[in-house]
Structure formats: structure tokens, C-alpha cells
Amino acid sequence: MARIELRNLRKDWPGVTAVDGINLRVDDGSFVALLGPSGCGKSTTLFMLAGIYSPSDGEILFDGARVNEVEARDRNIGIVFQSYALYPHMTAAENIGFPLRFQGLEKAEADHRVAEAAALVQVDQLLQRRPAQLSGGQQQRVALARALVKRPRLLLLDEPLSNLDAALRLTMRSEIRRLQRHLGITTILVTHDQIEATTMADRVVVMNRGRIEQEATAEDTYRRPRSLFVAGFIGAPPINLVPALAAGDRVTAGEVGLRASRPVTGEVVVGVRPEHLRLAASGVHGRVAAIEPMGREVLLALDGPLGRIHLLIAVGAGMPAEGAQVHVDFDPADTLLFDRSTSLRIEDVTLTPDAVVAV
């Protein structure tokens, strides 16, 4: 088990900076998710932690000691790759036992450890099969057992669930979470699936273009996103972002006027999540352009003076038809205000309703 710290970590590839100076602390025994869009440098960060890539700059510390120069094989890290990276010519048992070959264990002891790890992830019936004879989910479990068998101080998971079907993903999510709690092992999960990140991890690190946008609990990334990027990335369906003008304590976006709790000036962006909008008798008007059923709820796309706005409403009576003119309303306390020039959220401002300008 270990406490991990990254200081100004940086990785330059020819022509592209994959990781652009990140600082991060991961507490001993905690579960952190690195979340971000494709190509934002998640895997690169992970591979630097594992010792596969060496950083261009900055420091990696395990329990306060610099490990930049320590080779991958000496770091004692368990890693599950996105492709699982099982060794095709070995059986599941040989795969799981591979890390133990380098530890000089007695054969009996090694066999025992393999059986133990296999039981932990419930692949004890499949030990004699080769990877090609295993399903995706089974391969994933074998890869997990191989990562755990050496009792690593740090477990790294690179999009471990992205190749599984929806049902299996759900099972493996709670499975991995249970294992992590049970073993108390420091874990870093890389994913571009926000649900995966928010349901599994204690803390979520949102990355964008090689930088950390926000590091917070799952709830904070949703309720108090630090930037426009985080607001847009967290939450599904995505938040509505409407450009607005602020002058004094008044914020105006098209026909909507809001009153800010303190003076704000300049160009701002108002964010309202689709689940915080509701149909009303009056308010912002728009024409229903599309109706998208999403199980218990329905996503409506409205075209109005504010551009296209999405709102999520419960299925039930009073559903407008396509093409209908409707009005939507919201509680201004649910809105988020961003500074357009810095893309950062303007904190400690609450909005209250002001007059709706009639059009």
C-alpha cells in the first residue's frame, strides 16, 4: 500500500505534450479515478506511474520517496490494461502466476497464491484455459488476478471495463470496488466513462489536454464544477450552456433576466442541467424539435431564442408533441455561472429570478 504523489509531472512526445504538468496526491488505500476525453493523457500518466514511460519533467513519489529512476519491475505495481494484455501462449494459471516467477517463491507457495488470487476474482474453474478460450469478462478477471497476485502497493486500471457489455460492466464495477475495499489497496482507475468514475472512486480527477481540470469528490464535480469543461463533461445528458451578459447584479441571456447576489461584469455563460428544467405555464419559450425517450425519462430538445436547449422530464401525462410551443422554467439556485474569458466558474454567486423580458 502506498501514498502517491505527482509533482509537476510532464510528458512530451515529439510534437505533442501528453501530460502538461500535473499535481496530484492519492492517499493510502484510496480509490481515485482519472476521468477525461480520449487523448487527454490518462494512459500516459498511468504508464509513468507504472514506470513504463519516464517523465519528461516533474516527480513521482511513493510514500514521499522519489521513484522516477526506479524501474517498472521494481515498483511492485499491479496493472490491468485496456486490452488486458494477457500472454496468449500461457494458460490462465500461468498468466496469473507470471509475476511470481520473478519473486523466487517456492512452487507450492506460488501455486497457493495463484489459487488464492483466482478464487478472489472467481476464475478458479478456468485456470487451464488459454486467453483465446476465455470470454471478455473472464479475461478481464484473469488480468485482475494477475495484477493482484503479487500483492502490489498500487493497482492501476486502464479502462478495464470498456470492452464489456453493459450488464457485465455493472457487475464488475461493484466487484472491483468490493475487492479494493476488502484489500485496502491504493487504486487509480483510468476511464472516460463518468458513471464508472463517479460510482467507483472516492475522488475523481477530471483531465483535459494533459492538465487536471478539477480534483474533487464525484458530487462536487457535478454540483460545483470548477470550469466549463468539467461542467460539460460531467452529467448526462450534458448541461445546457447559454451565453449571457452581466452588468452589475443583472445577468441577461436573451429573454431571461437573473439577479446575482453580488455584482458581476462581462461576458458570462449560464449553465442549467437538463434535469433542472421543467415545463411551465410561462418562462422561456421554445418549439419542441425532437423527443428522445430515455427509459423513465424523456429528453426534449427545444429550439428557442436561447438556441437549442435540452430538458429532461418524467414520462407521463402532459407530454408535448413534436412541434408544439412550450415554456420552460427553472430554479435559479440550480444554475451555474461561468466567466467566458477564463472558462472558470464564478463562485459564491447565487442567482435569483428577475423579470422575464417579454418578447
Binding site: 504508464f47 507504472a50 514506470g51 513504463i52 524501474e71 517498472a72 519491475r73 515498483r75 505495481i77 499491479g78 496493472i79 490494461f81 485496456q82 486490452s83 494484455a85 494477457l86 500472454y87 496468449p88 501462449h89 507470471f98 509475476p99 516467477r101 520473478f102 519473486q103 494477475r146 503479487k150
Partner: protein, 363 residues
């Protein structure tokens, strides 16, 4: 919305039930016709390749000093061709593997019996005397030619084996290491290196024969197996490096990374995890390298002079040169003896060789 008229038409055509049985029969007939055409085509195309080899075999077991007659060949063909045709017919009509096998065995027995009866008395192994009589050629010609004594065929065989095995060993080792390096590492001049190798491979090595000859002379490697081996290896290597690079390219990075985080050194990862993935490539390269060395003629003809250094191709050449027109049987027998190792190797490793293009196709 589909107009009502159109709907009506769909209903009408839908109500005329198709004759499923007729359709199935048509597919079957077409499939069989296609198979027959394909088999016929392959048979005709392979005839010019198979017939000379077959004739060589027949000659080596039937010819006597003085000349060759073709009647045994035609008799044998008259038995074998109908047998093969009959078996093809069985294969087309019968689908149970058991019956097919029984038919195959039965036809083989009948054909063999017929052959034994028709030409059995004409077969002999005298032409293979060279295997145990070292001075055979001199005996036939009554005098030594081609610079003195003929060596025993086993001397040539051993030389060929030494040449082919050492060349194979060097090529497999160097090509796999270099292919791995080129596949995995970015280094200054990598693109130039790759292009250079392609050019080197496309370049006709024959044009270098005089400089190579002189170089070997100065190095005192002329007329040694080692010298020829080094030259041939150098000429062949670029191609094999490319082939191995292709195989290594198709081994995912991750399993190597995984091995290294699992505690392996880079070298251990290479040996324990990467090499097993390119096993097919190694086998293919080894077989091709061996066969190429075994069949090499031009360079060994130029650079091996003394008869104690002859390899099999030279032995065959001098035998043919000395007794041709007198004793075709011996030439044919030596030829058979010469191609047998390559042929066996090829047959046993065929399934790996056909996979070579798969790995090699990625640049």
C-alpha cells in the same frame, strides 16, 4: 406511406410460394460444377510442375546406363491418373469421411498392385549406388575429370548441411533481434535504415560477385564454407529482418509493458513473452533460410573451388557434367537425393510457411 397499389403487388408476389427444393438443388449443382472446374484447373496447371518431378523419380528407379525410355513413365501415368480421377469423383459424390478414406485406401492398393505387376520388374536401385560407392563417377567415365577425384556424396552433403544450418542459425538470430529493434525502438536514422534494407534487398546481388570474390580472397575466406555462409547471410538478411519486423509489429506493446511491470527485465520480457508470439515467424524464416542455402548455386559455384568443399548443388552439377548423355539414371538419383531434405522440411513446416505473409505484410 406505401401506396395501396404497391401493397397489392407485394401481396401478389408474396403469395406465389417459391420452390425451395428447386432453389436448393440449383445451389448444389452450381457448387459441384464449381468444384469440378476448380479441381480440373488446378490439375492442369500443376501438371507441368508435377510431371517433370515424377519423371525424375521414375528415371532414377528405372534407367540403366546407356539411355532412358519413357514407357515406364507412361505406364505409371496410365495407372495413377485414372486412380486419382476416380478418387476425385468419390470425393465429390461421397460426403462421409469414413467412406472417403476407405475409397482412398482401396484405390491406392489397387494402383500399387497394378504398378507392381506392370512395371515392378523394371524397378531397381542401382542408380543410388553413389550413396555408398564414392568413386562411382570415375568408374563410369573410366577417368577422372573436373580436377581430380570425385568426393563422396556424404562430404558434399555434410558441407551443404553445415552451410545451411549455420546460415539458418545466424539469420534467425540476427533477423529476430534486428527485427525486434526496428519494430520497437525509435532511433536516429530508422527510416533511412528501413529504406536502405529495402534497396539492399531489391539490388541484384549477382552484380557484386567480383568485389565479393576479391574481398573473400583478401580475407583468406575464399573456398571456405564460412566465407560463403557469411556472404549469403549478408545478402539474405535484409529480407528476413523485414519479415521479422512485421511479426514483431503485430505483437501488442501492452503485453511487453505488462511483463515488465510484472517484474521481468526487458530481456526476460522479450524471451518469455514476445518471442513465443512470433514463433511462426521464426519457424518460417528458419525454413526459408535453410532451403535458400541448400539450393544456392551461383555463389557457391564461384567461391568454392576444391572438391572437398563441394556442396550438394556443385556435386549434382559435376555429376551431370561428367555422366550426362551416358547415365541419366544417376543424375536423376542424385537430384532426388538433393531435393529430398528441402521437400521434407517444406512438407512438415507447410502450415507455418503459409502464415508468413500474414505477419510479413505489415510494413
Amino acid at each position: 406511406m406505401i401506396p395501396a397499389v404497391a401493397l397489392k403487388q407485394i401481396e401478389v408476389s408474396g403469395s406465389a410460394r417459391p420452390d425451395w427444393a428447386a432453389l436448393a438443388r440449383r445451389t448444389r449443382v452450381r457448387g459441384m460444377a464449381g468444384q469440378i472446374a476448380l479441381a480440373a484447373f488446378l490439375a492442369i496447371v500443376s501438371l507441368p510442375i508435377i510431371l517433370p518431378y515424377f519423371w525424375m523419380v521414375v528415371i532414377s528407379f528405372t534407367a540403366r546406363t546407356g539411355g532412358v525410355s519413357a514407357d515406364v513413365l507412361w505406364t505409371a501415368c496410365a495407372v495413377i491418373v485414372p486412380a486419382v480421377l476416380l478418387y476425385s469423383l468419390v470425393h465429390l459424390v461421397v460426403f462421409s469421411p469414413g467412406t472417403r478414406l476407405a475409397a482412398g485406401v482401396g484405390l491406392t492398393v489397387v494402383a500399387l498392385a497394378l504398378l507392381a505387376w506392370l512395371v515392378g520388374s523394371r524397378l531397381h536401385i542401382d542408380n543410388y549406388r553413389f550413396l555408398w560407392r564414392a568413386n562411382l563417377v570415375e568408374e563410369i567415365r573410366r577417368k577422372a575429370t573436373a580436377g581430380g577425384q570425385f568426393p563422396s556424396v556424404w562430404t558434399a552433403f555434410t558441407n551443404s548441411l553445415a552451410l545451411a544450418l549455420s546460415q539458418t542459425a545466424v539469420i534467425v538470430t540476427v533477423a529476430s533481434l534486428a527485427g525486434y529493434y526496428v519494430s520497437r525502438f525509435a532511433f536516429r536514422g530508422r527510416a533511412l535504415f528501413l529504406h536502405g534494407m529495402l534497396v539492399a534487398h531489391a539490388f541484384p546481388a549477382m552484380t557484386l560477385i567480383i568485389p565479393i570474390f576479391l574481398t573473400l580472397y583478401w580475407l583468406h575466406l575464399l573456398d571456405t564454407i564460412l566465407g560463403v555462409m557469411l556472404v549469403l547471410t549478408a545478402i539474405e538478411l535484409p529480407f528476413y529482418v523485414f519479415v521479422m519486423k512485421g511479426f514483431f509489429d503485430s505483437v501488442p506493446w501492452e503485453i511487453e509493458m505488462s511483463a515488465m511491470t510484472d517484474g521481468a527485465t526487458r530481456r526476460q520480457a522479450f524471451v518469455l513473452v514476445v518471442l513465443p508470439q512470433v514463433r511462426v515467424g521464426l519457424i518460417a524464416v528458419a525454413v526459408f533460410a535453410f532451403i535458400r542455402a541448400w539450393e544456392e548455386y551461383i555463389f557457391v559455384r564461384t567461391m568454392l573451388i576444391e572438391n572437398k568443399n563441394w556442396v550438394m548443388s556443385l556435386y549434382l552439377y559435376w555429376v551431370a557434367d561428367d555422366v550426362m548423355g551416358v547415365d541419366y539414371g544417376i543424375v536423376a538419383a542424385v537430384s532426388i537425393f538433393y531435393v529430398l531434405p528441402s521437400l521434407l522440411l517444406y512438407v512438415f513446416c507447410q502450415k507455418y510457411l503459409t502464415q508468413m505473409t500474414i505477419g510479413g505484410i505489415r510494413g
